[in-house]
């Protein structure tokens, strides 16, 4: 089995699973309880908080644990819209954001907010001129993702944060795909939202960095956990799992330094594809995150290649779901100006620390075979 769908989710690290099991069996107290079992659980949560905070060079009080990226994104958008509506009604974001951002925007639009979507070029690079033009005194929030989930494009969040702050707006980045891949220390962001399962942590748990002194009203209210910023009994095992997953990230940096990182794997697969298969288009930018390679195999349908690879134990994802009833085309690839044909044949390979160069040889063989077979039938649909 070769798993190359790490942008969708990752395999939970064994170290994470073991730590979580231990917590589930032993440290099952409620962190809010006054007795020592409660205290033991609270200590675990605070340990994880410290681990996560260190990734930002942040103070532990600036960390809020939650259920994941979607909750994080939603809470920032609705929270800022609420607390700053008296100051302005405009929100600026990119048109290649995750639906957790875009759908929140749609809802705010209905509530009378003006949303401005910044475009990207053919390499998924954000149009900075447009951003500078759109952000104005009426703008309360600017949100740009750290790394695009479909292409791996790294967004210029530092520059974007500066523009936002110049106009008194808050800046948020959805770092679900970027966390652990891009350095987020001194990013300039006021809010950074993260999900644990994208970096070998557990599903259903996430965390948010929220800069001190920037007012964000609570999205979920109740027992006042997380300093009142996110109520609900802490998911202690999940949070510990997230903490352990953070610790393991240092190993990835080490791998890059010693020349066996994801960048090598991605490059190997990319060169192999260009070498062995004709009529392909690389959709990921040269300088994108090393975790993602998006390629269009022209004259094929991504989903067919996906299922074909799957039957050989190789797992990837597509740029579009090619159901005959619902054309679910990638909004990211569309925004980059790709043609229908290019989007239809797009495959996303996304890597993690458990992948190897040897695996890529197997992938290339299967890919070459599948593309050849299905191009023969390509004109029929």
């Amino acid at each position: 089995m070769i798993y190359l769908d790490n942008s969708a989710t990752t395999r939970q690290a064994d170290e994470v699973t073991e730590a979580m099991m231990k917590v589930m069996k032993e440290t099952y107290g409620n962190p809010s309880s006054l007795h020592d079992m409660g205290l033991a659980a609270e200590k675990k949560v605070n340990w994880a908080r410290g681990e996560f905070a260190s990734m930002f060079g942040a103070h532990p009080d600036e960390i809020i644990f939650n259920s994941g990226g979607t909750e994080g994104d939603n809470s920032v958008f609705y929270g800022i819209a609420n607390s700053m509506k008296h100051r302005g009604k405009k929100i600026v974001t990119s048109c290649v954001e995750h639906p957790a951002v875009l759908e929140a925007c749609k809802r705010l639009e209905k509530r009378g907010f003006e949303i401005s979507y910044i475009g990207v070029d053919k390499d998924c690079r954000l149009n900075m001129d447009q951003l500078e033009e759109e952000v104005d005194g009426d703008t309360i929030l600017v949100s740009v993702m750290t790394v695009n989930n479909e292409t791996g494009a790294v967004m210029p969040i530092r520059a974007a944060a500066e523009i936002a702050h110049d106009h008194g707006a808050a800046f948020h980045t959805d770092a679900v795909q970027g966390f652990g891949k891009v350095n987020l220390k001194n990013s300039g962001a006021d809010f950074v939202t993260v999900s644990a399962h994208k970096f070998h942590g557990p599903k259903g748990v996430g965390a948010m960095y929220a800069r001190k002194n920037v007012n964000l009203p609570a999205f979920i209210v109740g027992g006042g956990q997380e300093r009142g910023q996110r109520s609900g009994t802490e998911n202690v095992p999940g949070i510990v799992g997230l903490g352990v997953a953070c610790q393991l990230l240092s190993g990835d940096e080490e791998a890059v330094r010693s020349g066996v990182g994801l960048d090598k794997i991605r490059e190997y697969l990319k060169v192999g594809i260009l070498d062995r298969i004709s009529d392909v288009k690389i959709n990921s930018p040269e300088d994108g995150a090393s975790s993602v390679l998006n390629v269009s195999f022209l004259g094929t349908r991504g989903e067919v290649i996906l299922h074909s690879l799957e039957s050989e134990g190789i797992y990837v994802s597509t740029g579009s779901a090619c159901s005959s009833h619902k054309k679910g085309q990638s909004h990211v690839l569309s925004a980059m100006g790709l043609s229908h044909k290019e989007i239809e044949g797009a495959i996303r390979f996304s890597f993690c620390r458990y992948n190897t160069i040897d695996e890529m040889d197997i992938v290339l063989d299967s890919l070459e075979k599948a593309v050849r077979r299905f191009r023969k039938l390509g004109s029929f649909r």
Binding site: I305, L306, E310, S311, S323, S324, H325, K326, L377, F380
Partner: protein
């Protein structure tokens, strides 16, 4: 006085089938027992041409009725109470029964209809109705008699040992008990039509197996999952069902590469029928069943159906052939397959859809195209490649 719920189940056509009657009734009782096996303390037995289901007082009556009505051959069901066959006792139960109806349904008028199965009983049916009616009038002060359009018809069914009192007849689907009419093989695609076609044949007592064609990797594994779920819904009426799952892609590839594009659909269709016939023979099915419907799509024109049928010897049943699409959809909603059927996964019929399919194919031309293919070899390989999925009934 009685701590049980009683449900009278009436058999429809079963009663008409002369010599086979005991066999049909026994099949029906078995099937009802099977559908109620999840409920505790339920007793099902035959008595004087009726089926009596007794359950504990706290049984979920709605669910019980639903499960019984799913049994083909059941004409109607009535929740009832019983009394000794003696006029005072009947009157007492009837009053209690009506007081409950007044409370539950706010009825104002009623009429008693009596039937005397025990002809030795000294009072005749109209007189029984009159006497019980009088007792109800006295016992339930708010009620008046209306013989033309009563809010409630109170049935009194007097038998030698017991008398049954009830007011409503909940319609079943009718039909014949399963297994009384051989076994058929349904070509199940995952669309709206084929589950309905399967259901209709099962209603006439036919046991089912299914064959499902896919074009993996052109179709998603979720499409097969959907077919399994649809078969599960059908099987809740028709009993345990095997699905023979066959990948058609190797054949589609040959057709696409060797035959005229516009003939793709009809050629594929003929291959499906040939494979289905082989599967049917192997699994002792006597006929093929399809959800085809005259004129619905290119492969279902009169001409196309003639050409499709020409490649198999086995009879092909098409229970939906003359129905309108909206009626098929209504039926699918009624039996509970519609919502599942409209889930959007590609099935193999839509994968290699030609731009302009032939609607009036000629058999000689189609056969000429097939002569470029190793028909027998392809069919044999396809049958061999089948995977079997067992669906619980």
């Amino acid at each position: 006085m009685n701590e049980q719920n009683i449900f009278i189940v009436r058999c429809g056509e079963v009663a008409l089938k002369g010599m086979n009657k005991p066999y049909f009734e026994k099949t029906l009782v078995d099937r009802i027992r099977k559908n109620l096996r999840g409920m505790e303390g339920v007793d099902v037995r035959r008595h004087e041409g009726l089926i009596f289901v007794r359950a504990e007082k706290n049984v979920n009556a709605e669910e019980l009725i639903k499960q019984i009505s799913k049994v083909f051959g059941v004409a109607s069901i009535s929740p009832a109470v019983e009394a000794p066959s003696e006029l005072d006792a009947i009157g007492e139960e009837a009053v209690k029964f009506m007081l409950k109806q007044i409370e539950d349904r706010d009825i104002k008028t009623f009429k008693v209809e009596a039937k005397r199965a025990d002809k030795n009983f000294p009072v005749k049916s109209p007189d029984i109705a009159r006497i019980i009616g009088a007792k109800v009038l006295i016992g339930c002060k708010v009620l008046k008699v209306d013989v033309h359009e009563p809010d409630c018809r109170l049935f009194v069914d007097l038998r030698d040992d017991k008398t049954y009192i009830f007011d409503e007849k909940i319609q079943g689907f009718g039909g014949l008990p399963l297994g009384t009419n051989g076994k058929g093989l349904i070509l199940m695609s995952g669309g709206i039509d084929s589950p309905v076609a399967a259901w209709m044949m099962a209603k006439r007592g036919m046991l089912l197996e299914a064959v499902h064609f896919h074009s993996y990797p052109y179709t998603s594994p979720r499409a097969q999952q959907k077919v399994e779920e649809l078969a599960g819904i059908v099987a809740s009426y028709s009993g345990r069902m095997k699905i023979h799952v066959i990948n058609l892609l190797p054949i589609q590839e040959q057709i696409v590469q060797n035959c005229p594009e516009e003939e793709t659909t009809i050629l594929v269709r003929r291959f499906m029928m040939r494979i289905a016939e082989k599967v049917a023979e192997k699994s002792r099915c006597m006929m093929l069943i399809t959800g085809e419907n005259l004129g619905q799509v290119a492969s279902q024109t009169a001409e196309a159906l003639v050409v499709t049928d020409a490649c198999v010897k086995m009879p092909v049943m098409r229970p939906l052939i003359a129905m309108d699409k909206v009626d098929i959809m209504d039926k699918a909603r009624e039996i509970g397959t519609y919502e599942k059927s409209i889930e959007p996964y590609e099935d193999c019929c839509t994968v290699f859809l030609p731009k302009h399919p032939t609607t009036k194919p000629h058999l000689d031309r189609i056969e000429a195209s097939e002569s470029r293919l190793d028909v027998e070899g392809l069919v044999e390989a396809a049958v061999k490649s089948e995977e079997i999925v067992d669906i619980k009934g």
